[in-house]
């Protein structure tokens, strides 16, 4: 009996190993065709050569909403670019990989994309993953533009740039805005202590709040394992007399917080950052609850400029959801890459490293305009210079607060 089990296990194991080797074989196959393509390229024929752009994000798991937004919007941007004739006359190929919000899997995803022949990376979606991957893009000298990796360390290498604001920047800007507009005298904070993004903004916000014309009266945390009941955090802010509650968190949790604040009859001003964008498009969400919520965001899905209107329309047609700022950042990222490649007349036959060098210098020279800002420039350290827009929700839509 034992023997048969063993024999069977060995059979299963070898079958799986065989599949794994076939997997490798496939990878080699692509590698080989790629070199063949490369060779053909060297002979000077432009036909068939393509830029290969890859994207990484959590496509499954609790953060899948963010990863899907990034990967879908990047796909949409690539499709639009291809339809309009490509970059410098070359078509763009696109591929996305899942990282399950796991830095280790993100590196695996990166390696998979590298085997596929990726030349430029749009990703990773989240900060920790982006930092882990940047270690490898640095070693390979591949250009990395993260749409939404907002932690400070995401861009510590010279080959990594980002589209979104950094976390500290958002914290500073929020504190500044609240104080400049005399929005509050007492501020309560509810943040996600298990999340890099939320922690980063929270810490900077508190530091920046010192000496401002308001006082931070409560700062309560929750974690991703404990994000159903917010009654305590709200009650504490209420008891402390906070007239403004700062929410440096994502809209997922914020929608619950707003609902619970409403049922307990607590109505301070809620002030959020870009993670809050998307709250109005939560299916079945009563937007009346979000009335008066202010947020600093580079993107609002119901802006009326042509670019946003078209983007939102096309995105909805293709994927069924209203895009959020993750999607907007990723869409911009692809077009920024396009602009940078065009400014250097780059071609797909350049090596990944040469492309990276070209893009690195292009990034500090270009001035991009996109969904998240009409004017974006970059320093060599990878940080974007753009202005956050303050919006306030009125009658279920975003209205400029200035």
């Amino acid at each position: 009996m034992k023997k048969f089990t063993k024999a069977f296990s060995v059979f299963m194991a070898s079958a799986l190993l065989a599949t794994s080797l076939v997997g490798c074989g496939d990878a080699q196959g692509t590698g080989a065709t790629e070199t063949a393509e490369g060779a053909a390229q060297e002979e000077g024929s432009a036909a068939g050569a393509t830029f290969k752009i890859g994207a990484i994000g959590p496509l499954t798991g609790g953060a899948a909403a963010y990863g899907n937004a990034v990967c879908n919007a990047a796909e949409l941007a690539v499709a639009e670019i291809n339809a309009a004739g490509g970059i410098n006359g070359y078509q763009v190929e696109y591929s996305k990989e899942d990282d399950e919000l796991n830095a280790e899997k993100s590196v695996n995803a990166y390696n998979t994309l590298k085997d596929w022949g990726m030349q430029i990376l749009v990703g990773s979606t989240t900060s920790a993953c982006s930092i882990a991957v940047s270690e490898y893009t640095k070693a390979d000298n591949m250009f990395q533009l993260t749409p939404s990796g907002s932690a400070e360390d995401c861009v510590k290498y010279d080959n990594v740039f980002r589209v979104c604001f950094s976390d500290p920047n958002q914290g500073i800007a929020s504190a500044q805005y609240i104080s400049d507009h005399n929005l509050a005298t007492k501020v309560g904070i509810i943040y996600d202590s298990s999340d890099v993004y939320s922690n980063g903004i929270y810490q900077k916000f508190v530091q920046e709040s010192e000496g401002k014309n308001y006082e931070v009266v409560s700062a309560e945390a929750f974690t991703q394992d404990n994000n159903t009941d917010f009654s305590v955090q709200l009650q504490k802010a209420k008891d402390a007399g906070a007239d403004l509650v700062f929410l440096p968190i994502y809209y997922k949790d914020a929608s619950l917080i707003l609902t619970q604040a409403n049922t307990m009859g607590y109505a301070p001003t809620f002030f959020g950052v870009d993670g809050l964008d998307g709250i109005l498009s939560v299916e079945n969400f009563d937007t009346a609850l979000a009335e008066g919520v202010m947020l600093l965001t580079p993107f609002a899905a119901d802006a009326t400029d042509d670019l946003t209107v078209n983007f939102v329309k096309n995105y909805k047609e293709k994927y069924g959801d209203t895009p959020n700022q993750f999607a907007a950042d990723a869409y911009d990222a692809v077009f920024i890459i396009k602009q940078a490649l065009e400014s250097k007349n780059a071609t797909p036959d350049m090596s990944t490293s040469d492309l990276c060098e070209a893009l690195k210098s292009a990034m500090t020279e270009i001035e991009a305009s996109g969904l998240t800002s009409t004017k974006m420039t970059w320093d060599a350290n990878g940080e974007p210079n753009k202005e956050p827009k303050a919006v306030v929700i009125k009658d279920g839509v975003y209205v400029s607060a200035n």
Binding site: L59, T60, G61, G62, A64, A65, G67, N68, S193, E220, A221, F222, T223, D225, N226, N227, T228, D229, S231, V232, Q233, Q235, K236, D239, K252, D253, S255, L256, T259, Q260, T263, M264, G265, V282, E283, N284, F285, D286, G320, D321
Partner: protein
């Protein structure tokens, strides 16, 4: 007054844990397996209610009834396809791992059908609730309904197990499957019935969970599921009143520790309490002492 508010919030959270824990403990008591997919049955129930309400835009009761029926069917099917073949396997861990597989399966099916983005759930309880002490204390309708429902379920389950033939069969099967079979009890059918009841409870728990905390995603059930499991163990797994007490204790401890100790460390405190209780009473608050035979 704010202490009372916190306490009521704790009761509300606790009674939801209690209903989920009742399902856990039923299945564990009789089938002797941890159904890790139980939390995901809750999620399935929520999505069914959500879809039905969206389609009919009417009385949520219809949605809840359909959810109960479909969840029951799902529970029975899962038991038949995934768990029954592993009954009597060389290690009890085999069925535990399969349950994890079922959990992944349900989550990923939901992800494919409904997408990853959250949906806001319309409360099935339309009642606003009551206000006491000149508006200083507000108790929400859903809180009251949850507490009442959990007590009703507790009583009905107790009566069912102690007074009906099927219930007695369950008790017998939980004590000794072999002996129960010799007494003419169809053990397979009894276990299937247990799964049916457990899954129906999951649907009800789902309706209440999402009414109190109206955010629905494919992973909605996972964490409440595991917390309820902790509650069931805290109360003494296999014991129906134990699940109720465990759930309430857990909910109250969670809220009060968040309030008075640290909102960052509340998970650690909740689990810490579990450890302490189990060290003092190794089979939970109401658990039976198991005499090991040589």
């Amino acid at each position: 007054m704010s202490f009372l508010t916190y306490l009521i919030n704790g009761l509300s959270l606790g009674s939801i844990y209690a209903i989920i824990a009742l399902g856990y403990t039923m299945v564990y008591g009789i089938a002797k397996m941890l159904n890790f997919a139980h939390g995901d049955f809750i999620m399935v129930g929520c999505y069914i209610i959500f879809s039905v309400s969206a389609a009919l835009s009417g009385n949520p009761i219809i949605g809840i009834l359909i959810a109960i029926v479909l969840c029951t069917l799902l529970g029975i099917t899962t038991e038949f396809v995934a768990y029954r073949p592993l009954r009597g396997a060389a290690s009890p861990l085999a069925v535990l791992i399969t349950a994890i597989g079922v959990s992944y399966l349900l989550e990923n099916v939901a992800l494919l059908i409904f997408g990853a983005d959250i949906k806001s759930f319309t409360s099935v309880v339309k009642w606003e609730g009551i206000t006491l002490f000149d508006g200083q204390l507000k108790i929400q309708g859903v809180t009251i309904v949850t507490i009442v429902v959990s007590i009703v379920i507790l009583i009905v389950l107790q009566l069912f197990i102690n007074k009906t033939k099927q219930g007695q069969a369950m008790l017998a099967a939980s004590e000794d499957k072999g002996a129960a079979a010799l007494m003419g009890i169809n053990v397979n059918r009894t276990i299937m019935l247990t799964f049916a009841i457990g899954s129906a409870l999951a649907a009800i728990a789902g309706a209440l969970l999402c009414s109190a905390y109206p955010s629905l995603s494919p992973y909605t059930g996972a964490m409440p599921g595991i917390k309820a499991f902790v509650a069931a163990v805290l109360g003494g797994i296999g014991s129906i009143p134990g699940a109720m007490i465990g759930g309430l204790v857990l909910g109250i401890v969670e809220i009060l520790s968040k309030t008075y100790i640290s909102s960052q460390l509340s998970d650690a405190i909740v689990f810490g309490i579990l450890v302490i209780v189990l060290l003092v009473k190794p089979t939970g608050i109401l658990g039976k002492k198991i005499q090991e035979k040589v």
